[in-house]
């Protein structure tokens, strides 16, 4: 593990006054390697390591810990700072405003938007909110069926129209929310490529028509280097308010989360930890930092 490797490098520093340039460079190489193995984007990894090297060089070695431990702490703290802070609670409807809070779920194909929409609805209901799930994916075979099945499992209403355009469905859903007295509308949109211009335009239209309080980019924790390109494109077209990480119950290190956070500058809000609808928790930067650093 990285902390073990760093401890090794600094073992020889016992009794010295401060971390030397050579030790720091050697440690920097180890950290870069660990980050790349964790799927952190190579440019983000480079910047992160340069920042660490600056912070560590010439730092006074605290007499209470070994230099290796101190270095590990510098790295860990920097990663936690970059990943955080956690902003878990999602925007709620304003009391007496008469209009529901709208949460819009967007992202690449298969990231976990539909499942996460249902998880969020279940959680919102447990917090005393009255959510409405909206099947805005009219393209994928049985996408609406999938959302309706999940909605039934948790006793949450699902609004959908088998045909019609997604923006129209979302507008109609807001009207339905008012009729039903729902205070939270969760828009489950179709997965799409950031390079698909008409489909990206469709998202812009939906956002324009529904004025969401939250636009959440759903990211698969197993994602690799290229995902920052997708994140950037989505971030350029939409006023994203956060990132949701899914499939953290796997053993992917999750470095893409660091890269996307660094590039978008938007908070990671929630994480999915399983297929069942209760497998869902607020983002914890400390835990993800440990996971990425290995």
């Amino acid at each position: 593990a990285l902390s073990g490797r760093l401890q090794e490098i600094f073992k020889r520093l016992r009794g010295q006054g401060h971390l030397t340039e050579a030790n720091v460079q050697e440690a920097a190489r180890e950290i870069r390697k660990a980050l790349l193995e964790a799927d952190v984007h190579y440019k983000v990894a480079k910047e992160f390591v340069e920042d660490i090297a600056r912070r560590a060089a010439g730092q006074e070695v605290l007499s209470s810990v070994t230099p290796g431990q101190q270095f590990v702490k510098v790295v860990y703290d920097a990663m936690v700072a970059l990943l955080g802070p956690a902003v878990p609670s999602l925007a709620r409807a304003v009391e007496g405003a008469g209009s529901p809070a709208v949460w819009m779920m967007v992202g690449l194909q298969g990231a976990g938007k539909t499942t996460t929409s249902a998880k969020m609805a279940k959680f919102a209901a447990s917090q005393g909110q009255k959510p409405l799930l909206v099947g805005a994916d009219v393209k994928r075979p049985a996408a609406i069926d999938q959302l309706k099945t999940l909605g039934k499992q948790i006793g949450i209403p699902v609004f959908a129209q088998e045909s019609g355009d997604p923006a129209g469905v979302c507008r109609a859903a807001l009207a339905q929310a008012r009729t039903l007295g729902c205070d939270t509308v969760i828009l489950d949109t179709a997965g799409r490529l950031h390079i698909d211009a008409p489909l990206m335009e469709e998202l812009v239209r939906i956002a324009h028509d529904t004025k969401p309080q939250e636009i959440l980019w759903v990211l698969d924790a197993m994602a690799g280097q290229d995902v920052v390109n997708a994140a950037k494109s989505f971030g350029e077209r939409l006023a994203l308010t956060g990132i949701v990480l899914t499939k953290l119950d796997g053993d992917a290190r999750g470095g893409a989360a660091l890269s996307v956070k660094a590039v978008l500058g938007k908070p990671i809000r929630l994480v999915g930890t399983g297929e069942k609808l209760d497998r869902f928790e607020p983002f914890n930067p400390e835990r993800i930092a440990s996971r990425i650093l290995g």
Binding site: K33, L36, E37, D39, Y42, L108, Q109, G110, A111, G112, K139, R140, P141, A142, A143, D145, Q146, K148, T149, L150, Q153, L193, H194, I195, D220, M222, A223, G224, Q225, D226, V227, N229, A230, K247, D249, G250, D251, A252, R253, G255, A256, E275
Partner: protein, 276 residues
């Protein structure tokens, strides 16, 4: 030029970064870059030839493409497996379309009995492509669906049975065991089955895809990879490491969301994509 000239550190680093950006993985990126540096030194090439050397080095590691291997007699059974959301169900539809169009008698087994509307999703695809879909009630035993479908394939003189399975993370031992059971059951219904086990990988994935391939390989004998979502900007470079370490070749590439969006793996196109 002249033999013995070396690539400078910056050039080697730049090679590595190209490979890293394509998700080749840390180890493969370093190893391939080193091999190219050696080849450069040995061949006396010009710096302008580095890309050609890199191309050659990677191409040398890839297997030529092949179609599904059909059983000499009786139905061929192809299992489609992988972690959640990679594109298995859509890939099954594409394979059904491809082999129906080539004149094969194809049926599909909906063995994802777990996920919401999984069977419905596949049933719609099968109707669109015009192939029968064998299914059972929700929550049923996936192995039972596979057994029934395999028996049906044998008795109906079907050429190809494609089996769609539920997405599963390799970290769940009981789910990997379920997959092993499906394989055993298929073999009981049709001797020699499954003849192909295709691991569907998401081109957007990082190095975890190598871990996925390793673990799925331990549970079942993976015979090939279908690399989905190559119509995006991700390049799926981890498949080089999967070939190197596990000798599992890429057979197909997914290039979109319709039943026609499947291409046989083409190493030249793939490598051009990696190098950008």
């Amino acid at each position: 030029g002249g033999a013995g000239r070396s690539l400078d550190t910056a050039s080697i680093e730049s090679l590595e970064e190209t490979l890293l950006a394509a998700d080749c993985g840390v180890r493969a990126a370093a190893e391939i870059a080193q091999k190219v540096a050696q080849a450069f030194r040995a061949s006396g090439a010009d710096p302008g030839d580095v890309r050609a050397l890199l191309r050659q080095e990677i191409l040398g590691r890839l297997a030529p493409p092949r179609e599904l291997r059909f059983a000499p007699s009786g139905p061929t059974v192809a299992l489609v497996v992988g972690v959640n959301g990679t594109g298995k169900t859509t890939t099954v539809a594409k394979l059904a379309s491809r082999y129906s169009a080539s004149g094969k008698k194809v049926i599909v087994a909906a063995a994802d009995t777990f996920r919401a509307a999984a069977v419905e999703q596949l049933a719609i695809w099968c109707a669109r492509v015009g192939v029968p879909c064998v299914r059972t009630q929700e929550g049923g035993d996936p192995a039972a669906v596979v057994f029934d479908a395999a028996q049906a394939a044998a008795s109906r003189s079907v050429d190809l049975l494609l089996v769609d399975t539920a997405g599963r993370l390799h970290t769940y031992h009981h789910l990997m065991q379920e997959l092993s059971k499906i394989v055993r059951v298929a073999g009981k219904a049709v001797p020699g089955a499954p003849h192909e086990v295709l691991l569907v990988l998401d081109a957007n994935g990082g190095q975890n895809a190598l871990a996925q391939a390793r673990e799925f390989q331990k549970a079942v004998q993976v015979t090939g990879v279908a690399l989905a979502k190559m119509d995006g900007t991700a390049r799926g470079g981890i498949c080089v490491a999967i070939q190197d370490e596990l000798a599992i070749p890429v057979l197909f590439v997914g290039t979109g969301e319709t039943a026609e969006d499947l291409a046989p793996f083409d190493p030249e196109t793939y490598v051009d994509g990696l190098l950008g």
